[in-house]
Amino acid sequence: MDELVERELTVPNEIEEVWRSLSEPEWLGEDASIELREAGEVRAGERSGFVEEAEAPRRLVFWWSAPGEEATRVELDLDEADAGTHIRVTESRPLAILDGRDLAIELGVRGGGAGPTALAGGMLAGASR
């Protein structure tokens, strides 16, 4: 099982509007930005990463990490609700996926100079204690 955090929110806005708001991420902090396209850049404070999947206006998946920390994967799923839009966010530290995933390596998940191998190694070291 992945280590996973899940949160949900329903807002009165239309789904397209919610989607656009994601790219104006005051909500992620002042200098944050997300390019809403595959391989787009993600920056939020000291965190940086890339977009794995962007399917407007329903689904955004990105990876990010702060220097020296393990990369995590964030999924945002938007759905039309009765009176607005339902937002579901999950953030996970998916060991198995990171391990075998070429995408993460190609696009360069970096954590403070640690390459993907070091990253996975660190996670495995944590597991084998």
């Binding site: 099982m1 992945d2 280590e3 996973l4 955090v5 949160r7 929110l9 807002v11 009165p12 806005n13 509007e17 919610v18 708001s21 104006e24 005051e26 909500w27 992620l28 995590t72 009176a83 607005g84 937002i87 966010v89 953030e91 530290r93 060991l95 198995a96 996670m123 944590g126 597991a127 204690r129």
Partner: protein, 128 residues
């Protein structure tokens, strides 16, 4: 290692982090066990008898719950004379729980900010 019987919470060499996480969640999925674990956290160290005094369950039930917590690596035991003392352990999966608590709180903040941001965009959205 403490003397006496090996604690049930001794991590199995072949166990993976995922197994450990499952065990932690299973152990903490029960309200009584969560209370027990929290209680133990406050006390630092206690016997099953001590813990049973604070909870509406028998000492035997407490002992069983402690066994489950120990299996998940959440508590360790130490024998002192005729008594077995239990204490909460920071390892192995508390790190994962701490991560989840921290990340969860971050998303609570971000979603609250997103909600405010969206409310400014559509201040008079008709309802229904």
């Amino acid at each position: 290692m403490p003397a006496g019987t090996p604690p049930a919470g001794t991590p199995r060499p072949g166990g993976t982090r995922a197994d450990a996480t499952d065990a932690v969640f299973a152990a903490l999925s029960d309200g009584t066990r969560r209370s027990l674990y929290a209680n133990l956290g406050e006390r630092g160290e206690a016997t099953a008898t001590d813990l049973a005094r604070d909870l509406p369950v028998t000492r035997q039930a407490v002992q069983k719950h402690l066994g489950t917590l120990a299996s998940a690596g959440l508590v360790a035991t130490r024998r002192a004379g005729r008594e077995v003392l239990y204490r909460p352990t920071p390892a192995p999966m508390s790190e994962a729980l701490a991560w989840m608590a921290e990340v969860g709180a971050q998303w609570d903040d971000r979603l609250a900010a997103l909600e405010r941001q969206l409310a400014r965009r559509a201040p008079h959205q008709p309802i229904g």
